[in-house]
C-alpha cells in the first residue's frame, strides 16, 4: 500500500502543465527582472 501511495504521489507530477500557467509564470519572472533592472 505504501508503494501505491508513492506511485500515486509521483503520478501527480508535474504539479501543473498548461500554457496559461507558463504565460503567467514567465510574466511574473519578467516583471521581477524588469524591477531589478530599474532598481539597478
Amino acid at each position: 500500500s505504501l508503494l501505491r501511495q508513492i506511485s500515486s504521489l509521483v503520478r501527480r507530477l508535474p504539479a501543473i502543465d498548461s500554457t496559461k500557467f507558463q504565460d503567467d509564470f514567465l510574466m511574473e519572472y519578467n516583471d521581477t527582472l524588469l524591477m531589478t533592472y530599474l532598481a539597478t
Partner: protein, 316 residues
C-alpha cells in the same frame, strides 16, 4: 533559559501591586527600555493584524512589569476597526474590555492590561499623531502602558514580523538626541505625520520568550509548516502592496528630482552644505527603498523558480 521562561508566566500579585504603588516610571520618561513578548501573544497579535487585511485593527495586551521591562504574556483583539481615524478608538470597546477583564479574573487570570497594539497595514511601525495622542492619554491614566504597532503586510513581504514597541514622552519633555533607529520606508502620504511626531516617542527593544509547552507545540507545527512555506507565493499575495510601494517610490523620485532641479538653478555654489547633505540623503533613502522592494521581489521570484524546478520539471 527554558526554566526562566516558564517562570515568567508566574504572576506575583503582591509584587505587582507593590510596583503599582511605587510607580518608578513617574519621574523617569525613559524608564521602560525593554519589552518581552510571549510567543503566544505575538502569534495572536500577528494573526489578528493579518486578518484585518488593509484595515487597521487593534487589541489589548496583558502582562506585568519587571524593573525596566514590560512583559507581555497574552493579547486579545478588540471589536473595533479603523483605529487611525480617531483618538482613543478603544472607547467604542469599553464595555467589551470591562467584561473581558471581569471574566479573566473569574477564571484566575490575574494579569492586568499593560498595553495596546494596533496594525499599520503596509506603512510601517511607528506612531502617527493620533497614535501619539492616544498613547499619551493612556500613559496619563493607565500606567504602566505600552504601545505596539504591527505591519502585517510588510511581515509577509519581508518574511519576518514587522513590529515596534513604543512609549511616548510627557508633553513638554525635550528628549536627548538619539541615534536614529533602524531605517524603514515611510510612504509619501504618511511622511509628514511621521516627521512631525517621531520625536515624541521612543522605541523599546523587543525580545521573545516561550514556555516549554509552547516550544513543544511549535516544534510539532514546524514539522508540518514546510507545506505552507512551499505553497505560499509572496509575489501573488502582496501585489497591491508592491504596486503601492513602486508608485510611492516614483512619487518620491519626482519630488527629489524637482528639488534637485530647483537648487541647481539657484547655483550649487551658494547651497549650504547642510542642504546638500539633506538632498543626498533623500536620494540615498530612495535608493535604499528601491533596493528593498527589489530584493523582496527577487526573493519571491527565487521561491517560485525553486518550486517550478521541484514540482514542474519532473515528468512521468
Amino acid at each position: 533559559a527554558v526554566a526562566d521562561a516558564d517562570a515568567m508566566y508566574q504572576y506575583d500579585e503582591v509584587a505587582q501591586a507593590g510596583i503599582q504603588q511605587q510607580k518608578p516610571w513617574v519621574d523617569v520618561p525613559h524608564y521602560f527600555k525593554n519589552v518581552k513578548i510571549s510567543a503566544l501573544a505575538l502569534l495572536k497579535m500577528v494573526v489578528h493584524a493579518r486578518s484585518g487585511g488593509t484595515i487597521e485593527v487593534m487589541g489589548l495586551m496583558q502582562g506585568k512589569t519587571d524593573g525596566d521591562t514590560i512583559i507581555i504574556m497574552d493579547a486579545f483583539a478588540l471589536p473595533v476597526e479603523g483605529t487611525e481615524t480617531r483618538v482613543n478608538a478603544q472607547a467604542d470597546a469599553y464595555e467589551y474590555m470591562v467584561q473581558y477583564a471581569q471574566t479573566n479574573k473569574q477564571v484566575g487570570r490575574l494579569e492586568n492590561v499593560v498595553g495596546w497594539y494596533h496594525s499599520h497595514p503596509g506603512y510601517g511601525c511607528w506612531l502617527s499623531g493620533i497614535d501619539v495622542s492616544t498613547q499619551m492619554l493612556n500613559q496619563q491614566y493607565q500606567e504602566p502602558f505600552l504601545a505596539v504597532v504591527i505591519d502585517p503586510t510588510r511581515t509577509v513581504s519581508a518574511g519576518k514580523v514587522e513590529i515596534g514597541a513604543f512609549r511616548t514622552y510627557p508633553m513638554d519633555y525635550k528628549p536627548p538626541d538619539e541615534p536614529p533607529s533602524e531605517y524603514q520606508t515611510i510612504p509619501l502620504n504618511k511622511i509628514e505625520d511621521f516627521g512631525v511626531h517621531y520625536k515624541q516617542y521612543y522605541s523599546l527593544d523587543i525580545t521573545y520568550f516561550k514556555s516549554t509547552l509552547d516550544s513543544h507545540l511549535l516544534d510539532l507545527l514546524w514539522n508540518k509548516y514546510w507545506v505552507n512555506t512551499l505553497s505560499s507565493s509572496p509575489l501573488l499575495g502582496n501585489r497591491d502592496y508592491v504596486a503601492g510601494q513602486v508608485s510611492d517610490l516614483a512619487e518620491k523620485l519626482e519630488q527629489a528630482e524637482t528639488q534637485l532641479a530647483h537648487s541647481g538653478r539657484i547655483g550649487g555654489f551658494f547651497m549650504p552644505p547642510q542642504r546638500k547633505k539633506e538632498e543626498e540623503s533623500q536620494l540615498a533613502k530612495i535608493t535604499r527603498d528601491s533596493s528593498k522592494i527589489t530584493v523582496e521581489q527577487v526573493h519571491g521570484l527565487m521561491s517560485q523558480v525553486i518550486k517550478d524546478i521541484l514540482f514542474n520539471s519532473v515528468t512521468s
